[in-house]
Amino acid sequence: MIKRLVVLLIVLAMLVPALPVALAQDGEQVLYVGLDVGPGGYNNSMPYNYGAGHTMHIKMYTPLFVWNADSTDMEPFIVESYESNDDFTVWTFKLREDVYFSDGEQLTAHDVKFTADFMTAPDINVENFNHVNEAYAQIEGFDARRNGEADELVGVQVIDDFTFQYTLSTPNPRVYGRMYGTYVFPEHAIDFEPADYQTTDWWYNPDKQVGSGPFVVGDYRRDEYIELVPNEYYFKGKPKLDRLVSRYFPDETAAVLALAAGEIDFSYVSPDVIPTLDQDKFTIFSGNSYVSIFFHVDYSNSPEAWQDLRVRQAFMYAVDRQAIADIVLEGTHSVLPCLVPIESVYTDDLNDYAYDPDMARELLAEAGVDPSDLGTIDWITHPGYANPLMRDAVQATQAYLADVGIQAEMRYLDLPTWRTTYLAEGYHMGFRGQAYPIFSPPLTNLYTNAGGQGGDIIGWDWAATGFEAKVSEIQLAPTFEEYTAKLGELCQMENEQLPWLPMWVGQRYGAANNRIQDFYWYPAGGGGPYDDHAELWYVED
């Protein structure tokens, strides 16, 4: 009996790999990728509804502006030209006249107006208003429209078929900084109401979905993959690929394994796996993530000593941030002087807080603080920064602090617990990253008392310390030069006052199999959007 079982097993085991596998037909151009993997990766989001997912959205829809190829500038996409009045409150945009939707209809200013009214409808059913607000909250009549008092967003008006106008409620010299995620929907093809935005099957139904990007939906299996097919009317030319299949991986390691097994040709990869990939077979794409990683102190909940600048300075001197960046993080991160991760704006006299444990001890003594008075610092980590590499960096930080007598303990939390703990002031220091793109830095959010990290939450008075004034100077700076200069001044203020403890900014990586030709990828925060010229990609064996 046992023998028979063993034989049966062996036969079964041999049979299995022989089963047929569906493969691309000869001559067909198919690319399998994991474009947005890991927890929170692209699965079923719609434009405007999440902060991320642009890497897929731009394959199906066209925004008014995009980031440039390396996230250092903003550039028009389907906008041809734009100009403003003298006080930056009225902006006129001219659209390209060669943009068509996948059903052959032309994209016009009426579609822009339709999208604006649609997305600001009082009953729009989205989970995350951040993107809607980013695109439209600065426009006149937004509150009235959102509250249901107005039938339209009066600040957006059609001038002619290819010209539209934004009237802003507050001046903004860089209005386009908030327009990169403004996708334009086809008025003629949207057959659902704002209230059904999230629940309609329109977005992933090949029979209904209409877009103006290089691809349209061909097949979609939730939690499994999305298959895109070319939009023959795409204004930059019909894509070379016949099918682009992006698989969904809830776990990042699983995606890397699929990449190594040759099942997908591209995936986002965490820096620690790069050495395991065959150098001859893969091209590594990398770039600045513009996500600043830092510790923020909850001043209202922490021991009072932390309000003393010298204690915070001691923290900075005690930790060898450079060594952690170079060794523990294997050179994938660089040290930050402040939260602004943009090197080009830095002034010359920034303190780099180079490793100096003696200085740290001195500062503590000067402040009259015995490290043991600080107790054990209760750290919490945002789940997005709990990967193995960051855990090592945190443990190294812990070890360095322990050297000068400061004890700390880290708690890793899930997202709802994190935010609850954050609002309830149930911690001493938080460890997380903040997306800090050069053209839409989170200034109001970070440096004002009313912002999301406002003084009323963490107990730092942003008005009294001069940050609020600096923020409005930056926001109203009329020219780019003045803007970057003011950002540099902000960085200097932060570097001196240390409202939070800046640590590193990281590179992010993607690995592409050399089979893919003319491929481009940049680790833009949230996926950009940037023009990755997906219409040019093709596969060659």
């Binding site: 390691t253 395991t276 193995p388 070890a399 880290m410 890793y412 899930d414 617990t417």
Partner: protein, 305 residues
């Protein structure tokens, strides 16, 4: 197949001799004598004691501090200086492994003990008395079995905070229903056997029948269950830290050392950063298993050795 079987017939004289000898020994002495004959069980017991001693007296077996970082000596493969190599922060893996045993053995043994004690008491009472008592206990067991562990852990972490005791209580407190059902099943089928009926007619109190007469017959599946409970608890501790309530880093535990293998680089090229913990867990669990084997043979009232 049958060649390896023990002789089918017992030598009558031998039986008499053993029984004669048994009369002058206490049951504990008999058990110990039988256990000692089981060589593998004895070796396992010794290994287990060694592992426990090394964990308890970890500082005596290493000259490193488990959390002492040395970035210069980072990711070294095993060598004379660092027997098990070092991890990504240059911490000595041998030290972390033996220190890790402190937490992991405590969690594994204590949680298994808790779940076994609760499980045996409730299961025995439930199976022996039956009827209403059985119905009530089993329905409570049903309720606990259908609890979602993840949510319980989140909730407990939020209310009671984290720490070794809570981890042990949570793991032990969620595992007992399985033991209860197992023990109850055994009692259900054993309570109507002749030896129980005989004991009952002799007027022995229930608890003596439950503990002295039936329990030894339940030892076999119970020992297996304890073995699995220990390994499950050691692994569960690592899982807990992902929900924000395990033993916080950098304190090493076998569970969180094994989690290093999440990184593909470590899995593929640096086995020393996770294998020692896996081998330690495997050895511990195997030893407990073999000790359990020996214990079962030693305590089995029907087995004649």
């Amino acid at each position: 197949m049958s060649e390896q079987m023990k002789p089918l017939t017992n030598n009558a004289a031998q039986v008499v001799q053993i029984e004669a000898k048994a009369r002058i020994e206490t049951p504990t002495q008999i058990a110990w004598r039988r256990f000692k004959r089981h060589r593998l069980a004895l070796i396992s017991l010794i290994v287990l004691v060694i592992i426990m001693v090394m964990a308890a007296a970890a500082p005596l077996f290493t000259r490193y501090d488990p959390n002492e970082m040395s970035l210069r000596d980072r990711a070294l493969s095993p060598n004379g200086e660092h027997w098990f190599g070092t991890d990504n922060l240059g911490r000595d893996m041998w030290t972390r492994t033996i220190y890790g045993g402190r937490i992991s053995l405590q969690v594994g043994l204590a949680a298994a003990l808790i779940s076994t004690v609760i499980g045996v008491i409730l299961g025995a009472v439930s199976g022996y008395y039956g009827r209403l008592i059985d119905m009530v206990i089993m329905r409570i067991t049903d309720v606990v079995m259908t609890f979602p562990p993840i949510i319980i852990m989140l909730t407990v972490a939020a209310i009671a905070g984290t720490g070794l005791t809570n981890v042990i209580l949570i793991i032990g407190g969620l595992r007992w229903p399985a033991t209860t059902r197992l023990v109850r099943g055994q009692y259900l089928s054993l309570k109507n056997q002749e030896f129980v009926l005989a004991a009952r007619t002799m007027g022995l109190p229930d608890w003596i029948i439950i503990m002295r007469h039936i329990l030894p017959n339940v030892m076999a599946p119970l020992m297996a269950n304890v073995t699995f409970a220990v390994s499950a608890a050691i692994l569960a501790e690592a899982g807990l830290s992902f929900l924000g309530m395990g033993i916080p880093l950098p304190t090493p535990t076998w569970g969180n050392i094994m989690e290093n293998a999440r990184s593909l680089t470590i899995l593929q090229d640096k086995p020393w950063m996770w294998m020692p913990a896996a081998i330690a867990t495997l050895t511990t669990v195997l030893c407990i298993n073999f000790v359990g084997d020996g214990l079962r043979d030693a305590l089995d009232p029907q087995q004649i050795m």
